[in-house]
Symmetry: D2
Subunit: 452 residues, 4 copies
């Protein structure tokens, strides 16, 4: 998705703001920003004359370049930095024949491409961290509001026992908070300069190599790593993996919402808007469009992350193909991740919750959803396993005879020996059935408060 995701299909999946970071223009500008910073840093250290800086810096504007011509030359050269440096040299020469000599001084293509990429990732990280933080606020609010809203807990896609909708949301929130922590931890590893010259030894800069590297890092607002990392790509693959984790958690949210939005369940609805989620054939349709995008992303990103991991096996001092495999893959992961966060944020912000339908659906099983509670109540008398078997048998009878489980049980002498009608009524009351749900939501919200 080298074109920054403009396009009829890409627009479905990607966040417009991220497209701005990864467009061709932005990518070339990021490389030019590095060339400009290099000139400034080298002048500061005394490696190139101060007079060369202005002509170089002024030429480092993407508007001055012919992007399609660069693309064509890049295909031949093997990377876009080579023709860009040539074109930049020509631009500088137009301004100052002397300054031209100091363009790209002591750098190699990959220095420029990687440091430019890190600048783009810096912007990406800022944006995504902000978005995840905003999503956490929405989720915390939703969890708080529905702390006690009873809903059927479903396991194996079957009604299991009651829980609350707040606990479900608290689970989403808890994962989101861990992702924020992961991004905070990887940030200092990721946002580092790439600068080593041809084979990573800074050989072309003589004794000034380290000083130039330090000044360049400083100029770009990046940290100086212990050594150049041309073929040690764990930093980039780590970002890809953590974005993969984020997308996985968002996919889980979308799966949950789309399951609960099914016609026969109808407990949640994605926000409605004119033109959103219609059908060209069926006038009544209100499709879970946001969920579809997010689920699609959750299907796509794992394969892209595996590409980034596979591409880590980079040869010697510059990878052959392995490096190139990253060029479109990592931006695509960033764009898709940003898009999925945006979709989920929209969904959560406007989510319609049908509390009544949640309550009503608890009655669908004629009491079976309370079976575990009854078994647990009988366990002290009969033992966990025998109680389980007794209630299992009663459940099978309830299904076969289409009767309510409570009726079956209340006619069973071995049950009534231990549980009164009132006991049974209490066990079948949803209000008592969701255990520590509220306490758990509180724990998640409190943990979040502590951090902020």
């Amino acid at each position: 998705m080298s074109c920054g995701g403009q396009g009829v299909f890409a627009a479905l999946f990607t966040a417009a703001r991220l497209q701005g970071i990864f467009s061709d223009r932005a990518r070339l500008q990021a490389m030019l920003d590095v060339e400009a910073a290099l000139a400034r840093a080298e002048a500061r250290v005394g490696v190139i004359p101060v007079g060369a800086v202005a002509p170089i810096v002024e030429s480092c504007r993407v508007d001055l370049f012919d992007i399609p011509a660069l693309a064509e030359a890049a295909a031949l050269a093997g990377n876009p930095a080579i023709p860009l440096v040539q074109a930049l040299t020509a631009r500088v020469a137009e301004r100052d024949g002397g300054a031209m000599r100091f363009v790209h001084w002591g750098a190699t293509s990959q220095d420029i491409m990687d440091s430019g990429l890190v600048l783009q990732l810096h912007a990406t990280l800022d944006l995504i961290e902000g978005d995840l933080s905003g999503l956490s606020v929405l989720l915390a609010d939703l969890a708080q509001r529905h702390k006690a809203t009873v809903i059927a807990g479903r396991t194996w896609m079957q009604q299991a026992m009651p829980t609350t909708f707040g606990v479900k949301v608290a689970g989403w929130l808890s994962a989101n908070e861990r992702h924020r922590q992961r991004l905070a931890e990887l940030r200092p590893r990721l946002l580092v300069l790439q600068f080593g010259g041809a084979v990573g030894t800074l050989a072309s800069l003589g004794a000034s190599g380290m000083a130039v590297a330090a000044a360049l890092a400083d100029d770009l607002g990046l940290a100086l790593p212990d050594l150049p990392w041309h073929t040690e790509r764990d930093r980039l693959a780590e970002l890809a993996s953590v974005f993969g984790l984020i997308v996985g958690s968002l996919g889980k949210i979308a799966r949950d919402i789309s399951l609960l939005m099914q016609t026969e369940i109808g407990e949640l609805f994605e926000p409605a808007a004119p033109g959103r989620g219609g059908s060209s054939a069926m006038p009544h349709k209100r499709n879970p469009v946001g969920s579809a995008y997010v689920l699609a992303t959750a299907i796509r990103v794992p394969g892209l992350v595996s590409t980034m991991l596979a591409a880590m096996v980079q040869e010697q001092e510059r990878g052959l193909g392995s490096w190139h495999a990253e060029w479109e893959t990592l931006p695509e992961i960033c764009l898709l991740t940003g898009g999925a966060i945006e979709q989920v944020t929209t969904m959560i912000a406007g989510l319609e919750v049908d509390v009544g339908k949640m309550r009503a659906n608890l009655d669908v099983t004629r009491g079976l959803i309370f079976s575990a509670a009854v078994a647990m109540a009988l366990a002290p008398f009969l033992g966990a396993r025998p109680a389980h078997i007794l209630v299992e048998d009663a459940s099978h009878r309830a299904i076969a005879e289409r009767r309510h489980l409570k009726d079956i049980l209340s006619g069973d002498a071995s049950v009534r020996a231990h549980l009164s009608e009132a006991d049974l009524a209490k066990l079948f009351d949803p209000a008592n059935a969701s255990g520590q749900a509220e306490a758990l939501v509180d724990r998640v919200l409190a943990a979040r408060q502590e951090k902020t």
Copy 2:
């Protein structure tokens, strides 16, 4: 890569001719082609009035549409067909208020999108089959010319025994021929109409459904499948997998070439051209640029194929997210595959073969490369395993003492008991060492001849 791969980075990987098939314009035009064909087919069958055809068909030109506006509406609607049908209806209305009523008659979005996609894949298949056929011609010629060119066979990236360069190329050719057969086999499965209406029952067309479907398939030059396949995606995933196989074989060629082009080996060279494979830091560099692209593609495509396979689990009558996951993935696979074929074709067409260096490198091991031949010659006398051990020991001595294996062996009484000096000389002559190499090349070339 919805934008058809225009862009600085995409241009490195993709074939320009394929970009033309998968650009936004082309994708929308393919959908419009289906809408036009649908009007013609329905008029033929008598479902819509003949007078409605011309206004609809004339409106089905992508130039009449505002692509960015469609992209924006598509993001909201959940697919591009919905806003496209709306816009098309408006275009037709401008021409003929009556005809407007018969736009998209009885179809669902996915009918239009999938059938449009199949038209694009038809063009892709034609192009790729032609390219693979051309590549086979080049490979057959190269294998023929180097049938007897001795080269070190290398296993585990170590010199093993001599073979010929022709055998190596015959192996590449053999795989390429199998891929052509695979494409021929999948073609009739893949190039079929998608047309079923909302849930695949053709319900909106009453009794005429099957007749319309048949006429539409006929108009589009596609076969009529047994039934609509909205959520049975094996056809598309099969194309993706076979392209994955092709890319794997191309990656093997690129790996071989790049290994043989290493500075210390220097047996093969990618074709040279001004601006091709240079370095921004090292003036002497001649990089294997073509190999880099192909190897990058071979790293990227497996993850994309896994996405297509994972996306096959499509829900009920229309997938939620699973369908959407295909939209950018399959075109990206097509573009990358086409690009890799083009790169390998260029490499093979201009490949420089240094026959002298191939011969010279056989001497690097001081005779060790002939060890298996000697062991085999001793085996009838000593047994396969004892002969192996004897030569293994001699090899270790040759390495340790930096002497030629022949000298070691010729001073070994247990060898000389069975092999004369002349026998040894013959065993260490590369001319005798490549076994059935020529016969094998002939077999591959003959098998190819038979087919054509």
Copy 3:
């Protein structure tokens, strides 16, 4: 899963019969079968003495070997064939000191391992083809029986329009038939001998190389390929991909069944059996256990297929790591595929279909599921798009006012201008709503009949 999948977790996923093919014992026996056949073939061609055959063949029984010791030696050697040949030589020596000399004559490790693998894949293919054929019989019967059983067609996981359960099953069947065709097509490509000696030139066998290869292929019941394929792995990766396609289609079946088995939908049920699908906490649970295994397999296999594709980039005449990457991956794909087929077969064979619930669920939307039919009926009068908009608005009113769509429409003058009450009644009758469903089922069944 080198151990053939014995184990508490593996047993959940794999078919016992396939475990027998891929156990350590079976894998070593397959290699020994190749060594035995090699001796027979070489004696037939006159390369080794006839007297050597019996001692070698008699020693080629896995019972005679110490498997754990082989495993340990294999780890050091880099492959299991090397220690196996050593141990086999020792076994033969115990019988006949002379015959010992002719063990493994002219072969390389990979010849033995790959040809042994092809023997295992031969057995796998026989078994899987049989299973898929059996599954087709079950699916055809189910489609036939439910040709006219009305069910809600669901798109985007929302009720869309009625279809029949038979059409859904016919879709599953149609994919299954295509998979059978794919396996038939790849069979002649896959079931070929691997035999080329160290670098694939048959050099160690002098002029007899081709004759031995032909005789060996004949002995093993395999075809003779055009040339050895030590590093051209498309045959194996093709099998992996087609198994990937099969698993994708099975995953779709499992997804459909599990969605229709949800508590609130209850249209289908996996077969019940004592101990099947229970819960340790909830006595009433009847979990879709079969679906869970199949869906898990559909999540796992795509990544494994991508590994097989990535591993195709094999170096020169023997891959370094790339070959090794196949060793556990391909058997794992075979085991998982076989297991998934078995699970789906069990599920289909005992599937419980609640026809009444299917019919009842059509009423959940208060007529919305018939919206497309109404829109289509109005289209000739109003135009497709205006009719769509009219019914869309009516649908939104029906939802908002919790009324039946038919009531809304029958009170709408612009509808009643064109449709009588009787027309509306007909449009809202499920019996008329599933279009060409029966004809489509018949087409699929007929296509199947033709083939058999």
Copy 4:
């Protein structure tokens, strides 16, 4: 690889010590450890009688169970915890009919399976962290020793400029240190209890739920998470990804070593040992066996990580198939990662470095490897780009005329105008050519010192 990787093929890839953690026995014992701890914790909190503890704890020994029978029952039940709890209840009943009642009190299958898994991962993490720490010690020593050992830096698999072997190793070390930091960061997230009962609300334990959870976490040496995480799997997928990163870095080391071990390069050699890396056909072979395993692992693990990411989309309160997809995948990743670390450790510990060959290979290009140094020396006079072009032309002449680059340049007036013969001699002296290599190695070693 549920069987813990015993088997002829698995033994090639996996670390024996890790096999002990993931065998069937160990996996069941880990689950039994959780059941025992649960009894202790519940007695401590007063939920079950103290007298029930001993009979339960004493029954929680894997030796008391019939593993094959459990495997068979697990396949039917859908998970191994259900039959294990049944069998455990029976074992306890044999000891104490009363205690039997309190087995598995208030827990669900997934609580036991996940907490058991976390115990296994705890052991895995301890082991892998120790191994990575040991590997760092070896790498630091190797980098220190070869800080100044000149070697050709190679980019795009072509000689580029000199560097030192120490810098290369420092790059490996630097990545290894980052991986250790990543594991330290994820440890507190990963090593947490799973305990929530059927739907994660602790409902079966009434008011004591949180207290039991806290006591259980304490007993197992795990942290108590904010809430149960039955369907929030980011913790597990994170471990998988970080192991994927580690394997990628190890794959890079193996690629480098195997490239430098090629016959024609011969700068590094994997340690030799009897039976290690031989060939069944070629007596002289010394194959890079360790590299092969590690590279195979680096091909396999990315696909497995993608499975773990894809499996994160888990439905509601218990995943259907998505959970099951983890069961064999995560242990396989752990086993392969541990195996790869062990292989690299062996390789580094015994690595043979041919310093003389490294120096000799610098002469292969007849001075071209110094081209960048010359260009840089000319740049202040001519400008970076013109100097580059001048040396590029001279390089092409040197190749075409098979002459030394220094000779070409020293005959070029435009060079000699700025550089004397002595200047040129200095530029072509490898001793001056590796820039800041030593300083960079020192930085990496110092950074490591600081941490420890």
